[in-house]
């Protein structure tokens, strides 16, 4: 069992070693044949794209997306992208002409798994107009999920969505992780949260694990469950954190269904945590509509929000003003 001991001991090596791994950028090794290889690859992509009916979007042009385009970017243009956004029956993907190029990137001090933008416009422009910085491309190449061909799986840039929020709410940032993206949320009265636009697959997985299977977890012990006259299900349960209460029900409005999942802290082991059976410590909303699926996590309530407030959440297509 020496390898197990070794693995355990290796697991304890200092942070500096992990930092080195996580921020490592290989030396650029570019030789002549690679350039020719890139040119050949570009040629292949164009031919394949044209024959297979790909819709290829080349960032750096006029930024428009849609239509049947097969184009190759102009590498001499300032800020021009060196990748294509591809849409076909296999979904939306981002294909770098030379992914190895961004193995070098710039100096990457902290490697992140998502890219953050201040606004939806900044996010869309960065990707579709080729304004991504080198280190951001390096994050995409290294960490975003890819398909079997090595192309990065991305969301549909023809139809981007933003949250429609109850009065006073605003998005604080956009985080992009490939096929999914999320928003930071804030209201003047202190409520904060996150809103996630999801693929159906990732939504279903989350819904199954964090909603349907939640009370089956080893760490959760249900003490009482009751169904109220208005159809709400109330579950009392304990975890290592203390005693909690969960209230679940659905809301329907304007073609969308929202599943509401409220958590109340009744008695907490940690005295710093506020206890209340009136004000939820957190609310999770799962929304499904013809536009797609989403979920939101909301925190920092000073009073229990009304159902009218909760049903105001929706998904709406992003349009540039």
């Amino acid at each position: 069992m020496t390898s197990k001991l070794f693995s355990r001991a290796l697991g304890d090596v200092g942070d500096r070693y992990l930092e080195e791994v996580l921020s490592y950028t290989p030396k650029k090794k570019k030789i002549a044949w690679v350039r020719w290889g890139i040119l050949a690859a570009c040629f292949c992509v164009v031919v394949t794209g044209a024959t297979a009916g790909y819709r290829m979007i080349s960032p750096g042009g006029d930024g428009s997306i849609g239509g049947d385009i097969s184009s190759v970017y102009d590498p001499s243009g300032e800020n021009s992208g060196d990748y294509k956004l591809i849409a076909d029956e296999n979904g939306f993907r981002l294909l770098f002409d030379d992914p190895n190029c961004y193995q070098i990137g710039g100096e990457m001090q902290v490697i992140v798994a998502t890219l953050s933008f201040e606004t939806m416009k900044e996010f869309k422009d960065a990707v579709t107009k080729g304004l991504l910085e080198d280190w951001e491309k390096a994050v995409i190449v290294r960490l975003f999920p890819k398909d079997a061909t090595g192309a990065v799986k991305i969301c549909d840039f023809d139809h981007l969505y933003v949250p429609k929020l109850p009065a006073g709410g605003e998005t604080t940032d956009v985080c992009w992780g490939g096929e999914t993206y999320s928003f930071g949320l804030a209201w003047e009265n202190g409520i904060t949260g996150t809103f996630h636009y999801q693929t159906k697959e990732s939504f279903d997985r989350r819904y199954q694990e964090e909603y349907l299977d939640f009370f089956q977890k080893d760490t959760v012990t249900v003490t009482k469950t009751e169904t109220l006259a208005d159809g709400k299900t109330v579950t009392y349960y304990t975890t290592r954190a203390g005693e909690l209460m969960n209230v679940r029900y659905t809301l329907t409005s304007e073609g969308q269904i929202i599943t509401v999942d409220k958590t109340f802290r009744l008695r907490m082991e940690n005295p710093e945590l506020t206890e209340s059976s009136e004000v939820p410590s957190g609310i999770r909303l799962y929304g499904t509509s013809s536009d797609g699926v989403w979920y939101a996590s909301l925190y920092h309530f000073s009073a229990e929000p009304t159902d009218e407030w909760l049903i105001s959440f929706a998904l709406e297509e992003y349009t540039e003003e």
Binding site: F6, S7, I104, D173, E209
Partner: protein, 185 residues
């Protein structure tokens, strides 16, 4: 959201800290866990358990950088799950990575008794310091993160074959390094 703000949320005991941590580092954490477990569902659960671990650790901990702190917790939780899962079967990247090490760690049943884990960690660190930066990254990506050769090759800009050869050489050096220190004789 930057790491300082996320840590501040943990200090405020705000559950949004978990949501923000997941937004920023969720994919990286799932990747670490998946490479060890080879199962997406188990990886998801381990990452959630790791978040609970982070919640319990901060405060008082104020880790910098946050990502390596979280990765370490994810790895520990995933290894525990791995040991539980693989009492009967062996099938993950971690299995393959660890089997490679068996050869260079000679069979010594007394090692656990003779050498405290901390001492071994110190020896490993000293060994890592003898490697070039590139070799150190390859070694740790293989044996800390349990990544397969093709992924390591992609991340360090080498061919898969090249990575394989480098690892054989590093393991050989490790064997002689440990032998010289009478760790495994």
């Amino acid at each position: 959201m930057n790491d300082e703000k996320i840590i501040a949320l943990f200090f405020e005991r705000s559950e949004q800290a978990i949501a923000e941590l997941d937004r920023k580092y969720g994919a990286a954490c799932r990747s670490v866990s998946f490479h060890i477990l080879g199962n997406r569902e188990d990886a998801e659960e381990c990452v959630n358990d790791a978040y609970l671990g982070v919640w319990n650790a901060i405060p008082p901990a104020k880790p910098h950088p946050l990502l390596s702190f979280v990765c370490r917790i994810v790895r520990n939780v995933s290894l525990k799950r791995y040991e539980y899962n693989t009492a009967v079967k062996r099938n993950s990247h971690y299995d393959l990575a660890i089997e490679e090490l068996e050869d260079c760690l000679a069979s010594s049943s007394t090692v656990e008794a003779e050498l405290a884990k901390q001492e071994l960690t110190a020896l490993i660190e000293a060994f890592l310091d003898t490697l070039s930066g590139e070799d150190r990254v390859i070694f740790l990506r293989r044996y800390w993160f349990a990544e397969p050769y093709n992924e390591i090759a992609e991340k360090v800009g080498l061919s898969e074959k090249n990575v394989s050869v480098r690892l054989v050489r590093i393991r050989k050096r490790l064997r002689s390094y440990l032998s010289e220190r009478e760790v495994f004789v």
